[in-house]
Amino acid sequence: MNRLQGVLAAGGFAVTAEIGPPKGADPTRLRRYAERLRECTDAQNLTDNQTAIVRLSSLAACVHVLAAGGEPVLQVTCRDRNRIAIQSDLLGAYSLGVQNVLCLSGDHQSFGNHPTAKNVYDIDSIQLLGMVRRMRDEGCFLCGEEMKAPPRFFIGAAANPFADPLEFRAKRLAKKIAAGADFIQTQAVFDLERFRTWMAMVRDIGLDEQTAILAGVIPPKSARALRFMAQVPGMAVPKELLRRMESASDQQEEGKRICSELMEELRSVPGVRGLHIMAVMWEDVVPELVERAGLLPRPWQAASFSGRETG
């Protein structure tokens, strides 16, 4: 059992973090981040050409993370690959030691640096979840053909409590769980009230017991960064947070403080089983945030932990 799955299976509180692969072929920084995050997080997500900007592939980045002693989460979007390519990459990833996968629709290519590209969307994120689960549990490809040595992924999905229509968001989560989501990483939470409303809907239909929900957070590095996030479709940033950042004398410190407060609040929301820290372009801050939250050492660092050994 891997670290993330082990922590969750043991009823522990999970911590994961996101690492953005580089816009180039030099893995030095990526490896450095992996080394820094491996001790303070249970798994590290490697984004798949996030916001449709070309970066080093998630799969290759996962391998660098493994080499650095981390535990990668392969992110897979449906934007750039069809069912043939995705299944092939999944087999390849698992063969290289990647055990976690996060299934996403993907940001539309119009956001990225190749807006004239053709998108794929052969399948959607829910169909992708079903496909990965079928590979694992039934040992067959999407077409029904059996395979030898199926990949035994721990399967994740995203959920956005801040997108519309709100009243359907918990039901869409139910679809993702029914399709195969073992764990959920949510969109970054700034609007606690809306998150609590969503979680109440989730608990009402018992979804928090069927999957492990990790609440997403982003430490804002500056007021400008937070203002930008407020404009991203599907993100909600309360005005008072913006004001707080803007009036802070040390914006980085204020950003850390806001993030720590959110982490503290989120831990107390019933049904939240972990945190997912997306410190975009600020991966270095993650150890401090986890430390401040009192979430160190990680459970798998204890000698008695039944999961895989470190390294």
């Binding site: 399948i123 169909q127 079903g130 997108a163 519309d164 039901k171 869409r172 599907g234």
Partner: protein, 225 residues
């Protein structure tokens, strides 16, 4: 109907730059309705091409003679046959039809160079005067029974069958505040119709072999052939 719009004039001028005499052919079907290739648009393009060539500028070969015609339907042999004499007397045929008409014309007159003056855009409908919107992706496996008559393959930017994605906000799509979120529309309509259970079902992967992905598509009715 098929919705098209005219190519930029500079591009059309390039396409006919070596021609001295052209036949400009419109079509009375879809492209007439969407004001791209009907009789009027043929007359307008004819005038503007002649004006451009009369300026004697920009890599063009002197004055241009334009013969115009608008046929009932460019995608049917019987309406192309009467053009034979005119086609024989020009350097180039410029079709103001959709891509189907252009190809049909090129196949019907295999010794004549046929070029398109329109960009064929989509299968859509008139929403209001001067506005046409895509409605069908011609995927060959209609899903509208699941979604209350709103096509997610066409109207969702990601063609999701299990939407809406996390980018749906305040009723619009993540790619633009001008584009409604198709899945919000589907949700609202199903709620009105008391059929929200439809959106809770997981829709399985789609068979794209009946779409363009399956190669050249044919539709056959043996009882009428």
């Amino acid at each position: 109907m098929i919705v098209a719009d005219r190519k930029p004039l500079a591009e059309i001028l390039t396409l006919v730059r070596h021609a001295g005499r052209i036949l400009l052919v419109g079509c009375q079907e879809c492209v007439t309705v969407c004001l791209a290739g009907g009789e009027r648009e043929v007359a307008e393009l004819s005038l503007i091409l002649r004006l451009a060539r009369a300026q004697g500028r920009a890599q063009v070969d002197g004055p241009l003679e334009v013969i115009t015609a608008t046929v009932h339907r460019q995608c049917d042999d019987e309406f192309l046959a009467p053009l034979a004499d005119q086609v024989a007397n020009v350097d180039c045929v410029v079709s103001m039809s959709c891509g189907v008409g252009v190809q049909h014309m090129a196949a019907y007159f295999p010794h004549t160079w046929v070029v398109p003056a329109l960009n064929t855009r989509f299968a859509g409908a008139t929403i209001k005067q001067g506005l046409w919107e895509e409605r069908c992706s011609l995927c060959g496996d209609c899903q509208l029974y699941r979604t209350g008559g709103i096509c997610p393959i066409t109207r969702c930017a990601k063609s999701l069958l299990n939407g809406p994605c996390g980018g749906s906000q305040e009723g619009h799509c993540e790619i633009s505040a001008d584009i409604p979120c198709a899945w919000q529309q589907i949700y609202d309509h199903l709620r009105t119709m008391g059929k929200l259970e439809l959106i809770e079902e997981i829709v399985c992967v789609k068979d794209w072999s009946r779409a363009r992905d399956g190669g050249l598509r044919r539709s056959v009715r043996e009882d009428v052939s």
